[in-house]
């Protein structure tokens, strides 16, 4: 993407190209945070729709990847807050599919344990961890979340410790 490019009639084509390139990144982020393929697809759609509107009338986007992460993080934050308000304990409602293989059962339980632990964290920590998991630099995380770069290390360290404690709680009989 050229820096600061503002398409007019070719906007849709450009967004299509970017959609193909960044779909996996944004979908994966949404899936990790929302735990649901349908919602992750909705989130991805919304992010690229916002990009299209931004490119066709808003101020120019200078750094596409960072902008996409930031928009996805903001949207996820809103969605997670609503989800927290209306479905405080949603982890127990996760669909459990029947598995024949024992290993797959163990994996499903492990996934559910992580999701339950993650859902105990505030939305801000969840988003930070998911961005961290994508191996984003502190600069990129700061750009996506709006936190100061000097605070990112502290917030990540706290989020990791909180999740570790929640996982530990879940493992206790």
């Amino acid at each position: 993407m050229e820096e600061g490019k503002r398409p007019d009639s070719e906007g849709a084509d450009l967004v299509e190209v970017l959609y193909k390139e960044y779909f996996p990144t944004i979908y994966r982020l949404g899936f990790r945070l929302l735990g649901n393929s349908e919602q992750a697809l909705d989130l991805t759609q919304e992010v690229f729709l916002k990009l299209y509107r931004r490119l066709n009338g808003g101020p120019p986007v200078t750094e596409i990847k960072g902008w996409l992460y930031r928009t996805a993080a903001n949207l996820s934050y809103d969605w997670l807050r609503r989800k927290c308000r209306f479905q405080k304990i949603s982890a127990s409602r996760l669909e459990r599919t029947e598995k024949d293989v024992e290993q797959e059962l163990i994996d499903a339980e492990a996934i559910q344990a992580v999701r339950e632990a993650l859902e105990q964290l505030p939305p801000r920590d969840r988003i930070l961890l998911v961005l961290y998991l994508d191996e984003l630099s502190y600069d990129e995380i700061s750009n996506a979340t709006g936190f100061r770069k000097s605070s990112v290390g502290t917030f990540i360290s706290r989020a990791i410790n909180r999740l570790a404690k929640e996982l530990e709680k879940g493992e206790k009989p």
Partner: protein, 168 residues
């Protein structure tokens, strides 16, 4: 060098420390058992968390939907309040027109209700019915007035004798 804070250790593990400072920290870690142990523990927790979080990755990547740039189907999971309430998107001009119609209708109704009692009273009294009065004990307005006793004729009352001279 002082012992390293948790923030510094986290930044060190994440490769976010500039080279010169990093070398100083590395030196400190070779000398300080406590910091070395804390760094090892923090690193182990970080690896564990990353490993666990990666379990949340989608098992397979779905085919990307056809990108809908009209926005009609976007955000289905959490549509805006008005869309949830009315079932579809509310356009501002339509909403403004509806509000204007409601406002005018309200004004008209108020005017009709306001003018109705007097008309009723006239027509009903003509037909020999008692007019309808609506009474209220609420004081709407009180005007101050000056007491004028020039034409006052004192009443011969045993408990109250007021003369015109005294009243002035």
């Amino acid at each position: 060098m002082k012992c390293l804070s948790e923030k510094m250790l986290q930044e060190y593990l994440d490769g976010e420390i500039p080279k010169i400072q990093r070398n100083q920290m590395k030196l400190h870690l070779t000398e300080c058992d406590r910091c070395r142990q804390r760094a090892a523990s923090l690193g182990a927790t970080k690896d564990l968390i990353i490993h666990r979080l990666k379990l949340l990755d989608p098992a397979e990547m779905p085919t990307a939907r056809v990108l809908n740039l009209t926005g009609e189907q976007s955000g289905q999971a959490h549509p805006p309040f008005f869309r949830r309430f009315f079932g579809r998107k509310v356009r501002m001009p339509v909403a403004a027109a509806a509000m204007a119609v409601l406002f005018i209708a309200g004004l008209s109704l108020g005017w009709i209700l306001h003018s109705q009692p007097s008309a009723l009273a006239v027509s009903s009294s003509e037909e020999g019915f008692l007019p309808l009065y609506i009474a209220s004990n609420k004081v709407v307005m009180a005007l101050p007035f000056k007491l004028d006793l020039t034409d006052y004729e004192p009443i011969n009352h045993p408990g109250l004798i007021i003369t015109q001279e005294e009243s002035r």
